[in-house]
């Protein structure tokens, strides 16, 4: 097994703050929206925690954004511009996860420093980080103080439009928070990728590295 350093420290810090923030935001968001059905904490406590962690998430986003903006590792987020190649790679990856993995086939994607995400991951992370999270953060900020941002709320169409966008991105986040950790457990061992996100080093087969 060969070890390659693919997760720099800022990325790891950002990732785990993000993970914890996502979980807290989802849980408090559920408490706020479903106060009649759920009683984890009071509505008021949920709103307070949601607001505080929301600002942490916004700040954290900028850690990720600024790191990659000024790093050569930004290539990991470059979209695949050839639709045919993207479709082919995505299909191959889906086939692996849907069937090949059961047979013990090797992962068709080979991790490298500048190309650490497979086709499906790449597309998903671009959507999450460049569309879902920004919409979630902006709408969340507007909802935090509707009167202060009244001009912006009206620009988007009104408070109900803003809230609906916030809830839709929350729903996507709920799917993500289940699927992402599960797919992360599909390495050569269940904890391989988790360990990599702490140490920064992914372990890859010597055969795969050639």
């Amino acid at each position: 097994m060969q070890r390659i350093y693919v997760h720099p420290l800022p990325v790891r810090v950002w990732h785990w703050i993000n993970a914890l923030s996502f979980v807290l935001m989802i849980l408090t968001g559920i408490q706020i929206r479903y106060v009649g059905l759920v009683s984890m904490v009071s509505f008021q406590t949920a709103v307070d925690v949601h607001n505080w962690v929301g600002f942490v998430l916004i700040g954290n986003f900028f850690i990720w954004f600024l790191f990659y903006l000024f790093s050569d590792k930004i290539t990991v987020y470059h979209p695949e511009l050839s639709p045919m190649k993207h479709f082919r790679d995505s299909f191959r990856q889906m086939k692996y996860y849907g069937y090949g993995i059961f047979k013990g086939d090797p992962n068709p994607h080979h991790v490298s420093v500048y190309h650490k995400f497979n086709a499906m991951q790449s597309m998903t992370y671009q959507i999450i980080m460049l569309i879902i999270v920004p919409i979630q953060c902006v709408t969340g900020l507007l909802l935090w103080d509707v009167e202060r941002f009244q001009w912006s709320v009206e620009l988007f169409g009104g408070i109900r439009v803003v809230d609906t966008a916030h809830v839709l991105t929350f729903i996507v986040s709920v799917v993500f928070i289940f699927i992402h950790p599960y797919l992360a457990s599909l390495g050569h061992t269940p904890m391989a990728h988790y360990k990599a996100m702490f140490t920064g080093y992914e372990e890859i087969d010597d055969d795969a590295s050639h």
Binding site: V47, D145, V175, Y182
Partner: protein, 459 residues
């Protein structure tokens, strides 16, 4: 002294007569030509010789009985005592009393006379009458409403007291028409505080003054209570620290202030409703019906075919109609939480009893969002309302039709709940199914492997 009858008796008689005349002149002179507090002038006494009689009714040419009684004691103690009768009743300044007494056929009804007499009030009270002219009361009078108050309905001109006079809570003239409201107010925290201050004989001039009707509704420029922000501004004019106090615990405080009337939380046991008011986002004000062009009720009835209240589609259709009048889709609905009863909203309680539990509004199915009305302003500022079904707040169409009103959790769109449930199901099921399939497949493969490796049975 030798009696000097004859010469001296004549002198004594003249002297007595002189003293008598001087005394008479003195007495006559001591009756003031002008009045002072509690004392009527000579001229006014002449009028009140008849008009102080009780009863003092006359029948006019129409056959109606008109009371002409004036309480002379109250008049002498009123602020108008300084003016006297003919300052207002100018046509009677040089009247022949005998002819005046017989002129019944010139009598008109009290209401008609009083409306015309506003011209007299304006001579001295120009600014106040101007304020009244802009009020809802004046608008109703101009519209022919015989019950709407004019100057004399609140200020009996023959017994009006100084502004500084302290009236008991249940003696305010507003109670002549709004008796139930005054009674409700009297039992409120403001009413109790006012009563204490009245009993102490001193009304403070600072923010500790307990308000009476005119403090919130203004004395003369009374507008419809729903006029934008007016009552809330009245509350905040005394309760200056209220906003800061709410910010300590209430998220989105300014939004709550905008969307919820103070009494909605500070009157505890009563029915609440959501009022969706038509608002012009281009002109930035409530949409108002034009005088003589009523549109709202006819359009609302046309949209509410079954008469069960506007449903989501009907509300959307109503908005579309109004958007034809205002370009660029400027018509939106702005929601506000308020009390259903105008009487109950005067029953403000101590702040310790105010609603602080967020669940009251922010949970689905709460009573607060079961009663919904759609409204528009009349030209005089009052509202015309039409009922709507509560589903208008939670329907997917509400993202467009009720885009300006949303209470987190309380008016959530049900379709999004379904999507969330699907997301949870997918999020849990996919990993479980995949893990299970993986485990089963690997087990199957291991079985095949072990069978391949097993030695062939010996023959």
């Amino acid at each position: 002294m030798k009696c000097t009858k004859g010469k001296w008796s004549g002198f004594a008689a003249n002297a007595n007569l002189l003293v008598f005349f001087m005394l008479a002149l003195f007495l006559i002179g001591s009756i003031p030509a002008h009045a002072t507090f509690g004392v009527l002038s000579k001229d006014d006494k002449a009028c009140l010789n008849c008009h102080a009689k009780k009863p003092y009714d006359k029948t006019n040419a129409k056959g109606d009985s008109v009371s002409l009684h004036i309480n002379d004691k109250k008049f002498s103690e009123s602020v108008h005592n300084d003016n006297g009768c003919t300052d207002c009743h100018t046509n009677l300044e040089k009247v022949d009393i005998k002819k005046h007494e017989k002129s019944n056929n010139k009598l008109i009804g009290t209401r008609t006379y009083s409306v015309a007499a506003i011209k007299v009030c304006v001579e001295c009270h120009k600014k106040t009458v101007k304020q009244y002219d802009d009020s809802l009361h004046a608008s109703l009078v101009r519209g022919g409403n015989e019950e709407a108050p004019i100057c004399t309905d609140c200020h009996d001109p023959h017994s009006v007291r100084a502004e500084s006079a302290i009236a008991p809570v249940d003696d305010v003239p507003c109670g002549n028409c709004h008796a139930k409201i005054v009674k409700a107010y009297a039992g409120s925290i403001h009413g109790h505080a006012r009563t204490k201050q009245v009993e102490a004989g001193k009304i403070p001039k600072d923010d500790t003054k307990a308000p009476i009707c005119s403090d919130c509704h203004k004395s003369h420029s009374i507008l419809a209570a729903v006029a934008q922000g007016r009552i809330a501004n009245s509350c905040l004019s005394c309760h200056k620290s209220a906003l800061a106090a709410h910010k300590k615990w209430l998220p989105n405080t300014e939004l709550h202030y905008e969307a919820i009337s103070c009494s909605t939380c500070h009157v505890t046991t009563t029915k609440r409703r959501v009022d969706l008011r038509l608002y012009d986002t281009i002109a930035k004000k409530d949409i108002s019906e034009k005088t003589g062009v009523p549109m709202f009720e006819s359009r609302a009835k046309a949209a509410d075919i079954q008469g069960l209240g506007l449903d989501a589609l009907a509300l959307q259709s109503l908005l579309t109609e109004f958007n034809r009048d205002i370009p660029r889709g400027g018509t939106v609905l702005r929601g506000r939480l308020e009390l259903s009863s105008g009487i109950e909203l005067h029953q403000l309680t101590d702040k310790s009893k105010a609603i602080k539990d967020c669940d009251t509004c922010h949970s689905s199915g709460t009573d607060v969002f079961q009663t919904v009305t759609v409204s528009i302003s009349r030209p005089d500022g009052r509202s015309i309302r039409h009922g709507a079904q509560s589903e208008v707040l939670t329907s997917p169409i509400s993202v467009d039709s009720v885009k300006g009103f949303y209470a987190i959790g309380g008016t959530r769109i049900k379709l999004l709940d379904v999507l969330f449930a699907i997301a949870l199901f997918v999020g849990v099921t996919v990993p479980v199914v995949h893990m299970t399939s993986n485990w089963l497949f690997r087990r199957y493969l291991r079985n095949i492997e072990s069978k391949k490796r097993a030695p062939p049975p010996q023959t």
